[in-house]
C-alpha cells in the first residue's frame, strides 16, 4: 500500500487529492502505467510526463526511480511558487 497525492490540475483531472493504492509497481513509471491502464482519468492526467513532476516521500525525484520502501508518492505540474 502506498499513499498517492495529486496537486493542481493533476488533482483536478484525477478527481481526488489523495488515495491509498495497492500496487507492486517497481518504479514510478510502472505505477503511472498501471494507473493509466486502470482508468481513463489517470491516462489523461499522465498523458504527458514531461509536463509532470514527481516527489517520493516529499523529495523531488524522477519517473525511473524505484518505489521500494517509499510510503508517499506525489504527482504535480511544475511548481509556481514565489
Amino acid at each position: 500500500m502506498i499513499d498517492v497525492l495529486y496537486f493542481a490540475w493533476v488533482r483536478e483531472r484525477i478527481g481526488v487529492p489523495r488515495e491509498r493504492i495497492q500496487t507492486d509497481a517497481a518504479t514510478v513509471a510502472d505505477l503511472v502505467a498501471e494507473l493509466s491502464a486502470r482508468e481513463e482519468r489517470y491516462a489523461l492526467a499522465f498523458a504527458d510526463l514531461a509536463s509532470l513532476r514527481v516527489a517520493l516521500d516529499q523529495e523531488l525525484s524522477s519517473f525511473d526511480a524505484g518505489l521500494s520502501g517509499v510510503r508517499e508518492v506525489a504527482f504535480f505540474p511544475p511548481m509556481t511558487g514565489g
Partner: protein, 146 residues
Amino acid sequence: MLLLVQEAAFDIGAETAAFVAGVGAAGAVVTFTGLVRDEGGTLQAMEIEHYPGMTERAIAAIMDQAVARWSVLDALVIHRHGRLRPGEAIMMVATAARHRAEAFAAAEFLMDYLKSRAPFWKKEVGVGGAEWVAAKDADEAALGRW
C-alpha cells in the same frame, strides 16, 4: 532563521522591522515581497495550493543552502497559501549579511529556488474563468546561474 507557511495575511512592515532589529552584526538586509498583480483589473483572485510537509522541507533546504553559500547571518521566508486578492502580499523573503553583495545574492537565490522548487501552484481566477499559472521557462533557466 524563520520559515512560515500560512494562510493568514502577514504584516510586511512589522516583519521587516522585526527582522532588521534581530540581525546583530549584519551590515546589509535585503527583502523581497511578491504581490498579486491585478492584471489590469481582470484578476479576481489568486488561489495558491501547496503540499503541506514537503513545502516546509523544501524551503528549509533552500534556506540552508543560501545561508551556507553566502555567509548569511539570518534569513526569513513567509509564504501564503489559499485565496488571495489583487494587491495582497503572497510571500516575502529577507536576508541579512555583512555586505550587500551576499545579502542580494542570497535573496535572489532564495527567490529563484522558491519559484521552481517549492511545491506551490498558483491558479488565477478571472472574469473569464480560472486557469493554472504555467511555469515559465525563464524561471527554470534562472536556476542555471547558481
